[in-house]
């Protein structure tokens, strides 16, 4: 009986992921180079390919991947976006918890995704309330290292965070029995630095007025970084950028101008591409995205002053925590400045503020974002939804009206 239930669960999980991938593949402007990124997602979520790779999982974007690579493990982002897994997680999580947590619980509980099965340790930063409480729940399935994050960005909290990272390294040394080697840390810093450079290049092309990549494609590429090998990923993005560049010179036909929309707010993780895909169906063009699992994932580079272990750890702290624009921090200046700059850069005509049901930090940020949008003279639409497809039609109507309004405003 239970086996059958698990089988059905697995079938549904795979179906959800495959549907999203199919939708992504069928969108316009498909490049041959995209296949690599789709394959990464396909291997992870559809084919459920097992491998001998040992993972250390992490949640949020505050855990430096460089440290995990330095220990000879592969980092993997465990924040999930699958609606079927979220349904299962509903059993453990309180009703008002956000679907990202629910889906992560669901996957932790069911041993079907290889990335969760091969994960030896999970590092959980104490960011929002939900993540803080998750430590207890997830520790039933995998050993959890909680990583405390100071909730302010002062000089003292920088020193505190640096100490936290150092103790994280000590804990990892204890558990894995390996030492944090400077050579490997520097190497992993260089690999990820390459990926960050390429991600920036891709972002430039994505924000371009005549962009050839759609928002959902961009999100899929960025998201696939979490499950890929960084230097390989960087090479593929490099090839992709080159082919986009050659396209711009080849064909210069005039197309009808689409409404330019920027997505900000809660994390959008594969396969939860409901909102971006709907937006594109409604004829809008996503020109920028300020969510933590794609646009912000690789945006800031790590800039060490010297290559000593201490120097790299300082730079990692600066990049992953001080520069982080997550709304859980005490003040929201950084986030709003970033949003404003992004709107200026992308020449967006409207902002879709995506709020996952139960994701309160982003809902708190909303009022500030609305103020900023008003100052810039562009409309902002708050879309609250979760992973399920039940409200697709309702969301669709709202998005359609918003896109129409943007076109009328010109």
């Amino acid at each position: 009986m239970i086996n059958k239930a698990i089988e059905r669960f697995e079938r549904n999980v795979v179906r959800t992921a495959r549907n999203t991938l199919d939708e992504l593949r069928s969108s316009q402007n498909t490049f041959g180079e995209m296949e690599y990124f789709y394959k990464v997602l396909n291997d992870t979520f559809v084919d459920l390919k097992k491998s001998t790779i040992k993972y250390i999982g992490s949640y949020c974007v505050m855990v430096p991947d460089e440290i995990i690579y330095a220990y000879g493990y592969r980092p993997v982002r465990l924040c999930a976006g699958n609606s079927v897994a979220a349904m299962l997680g509903d059993e453990i999580a309180p009703r008002d918890a956000c679907p990202v947590l629910k889906a992560s619980y669901g996957f932790s509980q069911m041993d079907i995704l290889p990335i969760y099965n091969q994960c030896e340790i999970a590092i959980l930063p104490m960011t929002c309330d939900g993540k803080r409480k998750s430590a207890e729940i997830i520790s039933d399935y995998v050993p959890v290292i909680p990583l405390s994050i100071p909730m302010e960005k002062s000089e003292e909290s920088f020193a505190e965070m640096l100490e936290n990272l150092k103790s994280l390294a000590k804990t990892l040394s204890k558990i894995t029995g390996r030492k944090l080697s400077n050579k490997r840390l520097v190497q992993s810093y260089k690999d990820i630095h390459q990926a960050q450079k390429q991600a920036f290049r891709l972002n430039e092309r994505f924000c371009h007025t005549d962009s050839h990549i759609s928002g959902s494609q961009y999100m899929a590429i960025m998201n696939s970084f979490c499950y890929a090998e960084p230097s390989e990923w960087a090479n593929k993005v490099d090839e992709f950028c080159n082919s986009i560049d050659s396209m711009t010179t080849d064909s210069n036909q005039k197309r009808r101008k689409k409404a330019r929309v920027l997505i900000a707010g809660s994390p959008i993780t594969f396969p939860n591409y409901k909102v971006p895909l709907l937006l594109e169906q409604m004829g809008a063009q996503i020109v920028g995205d300020e969510t933590c699992m794609s646009g912000r994932l690789l945006y800031d580079p790590v800039v060490p002053d010297d290559y000593s272990t201490d120097g790299i750890l300082r730079a990692l702290t600066a990049r992953y925590v001080t520069a982080c624009a997550c709304p859980v921090f005490d003040q929201l200046d950084d986030q709003i400045y970033r949003l404003t700059e992004k709107v200026k850069l992308t020449k967006a005509e409207g902002i879709i503020y995506y709020v996952l049901r139960g994701c309160t930090p982003y809902d708190f940020e909303l009022s500030k974002a609305e103020e900023a949008a008003e100052k810039m003279g562009i409309p902002l639409l708050r879309v609250e939804t979760d992973f399920s497809l039940e409200d697709t039609e309702q969301v669709k109507i709202r998005l359609e009206a918003f896109v129409e309004m943007l076109e009328q405003r010109r």
């Binding site: 450079k197 060490p304 272990t309 730079a315 520069a323 400045y337």
Partner: protein, 234 residues
């Protein structure tokens, strides 16, 4: 550490000046004094970053430290506050020494001559060793209490050369502060003011080199932009 053209240019400047001082200092005392004074009045502490041989020596030993991958020592916040009055005390002491006793510290112009002097007293050796040791672990530590630098620092306020910041473009990634040899906090924290030239700034441009945001930091001379920060891709 690749693509640091500005730092390489600056180190070349320092090297050339050190050589010039070695060959042609005697006989041109007055000329160098006038050059030093005018540069200080017009451009503030630019002498410290591009000409001072003692600064060059400190930078060489920090380069060695970076090569050996030895971490730098960051002074605790309380010590940084303490350094401020110490700077002024040292400056007053220096001026008194110059006027009353007539000290002419050769180390500013010819650190090599001081180091290889055969008649070096035991106290001077200890002092030089201590300064070298501290500067090895903390980049340009001496510059933070240097009396000549403090005096030039007053001119930084009215200097024609300015470091400017576009607060809205800053993402608070701390790259500027991490690379700053003088550990100037304001450049990282400031968001409202445009002019972020601190009295300690030696115009080494490391912040502009490190800053990944386009146009967030810029260096202007007579309000003409000379350098801007940008993301280094390839």
């Amino acid at each position: 550490m690749k693509g640091r053209k500005i730092t390489i240019f600056r180190l070349l400047c320092l090297l050339v000046m050190a050589v010039i001082f070695m060959i042609a200092f005697n006989g041109f005392h007055i000329a160098f004094l006038i050059a030093s004074l005018t540069s200080a009045l017009l451009l503030g502490r630019i002498w410290c970053g591009y000409i001072c041989p003692l600064g060059f020596y400190q930078e060489l030993i920090s380069l060695l430290r970076k090569k050996l991958r030895i971490p730098k020592i960051i002074l605790p916040a309380r010590m940084k506050i303490m350094l401020k009055p110490i700077r002024y005390i040292v400056l007053v002491g220096f001026i008194v020494g110059m006027v009353a006793i007539g000290t002419r510290p050769l180390i500013y112009i010819r650190p090599d001559k001081v180091f290889f002097d055969s008649a070096l007293g035991i106290t001077s050796i200890i002092l030089l060793g201590a300064i070298t040791g501290v500067c090895f672990l903390s980049e340009r530590f001496f510059c933070r209490i240097c009396p000549l630098g403090t005096a030039r620092g007053f001119a930084n306020k009215t200097s024609l050369a300015k470091i400017k910041k576009k607060g809205s473009a800053c993402t608070h990634c701390r790259a500027c502060l991490e690379s700053c040899p003088m550990e100037i906090n304001d450049i990282y924290l400031e968001r409202e003011k445009e002019n972020v030239t601190d009295s300690n700034c030696i115009y080494c441009m490391k912040c502009i080199e490190a800053c990944p945001e386009k146009d967030a930091l810029s260096f202007t001379v007579c309000s003409k932009t000379v350098l801007r920060s940008k993301r280094n891709i390839k």
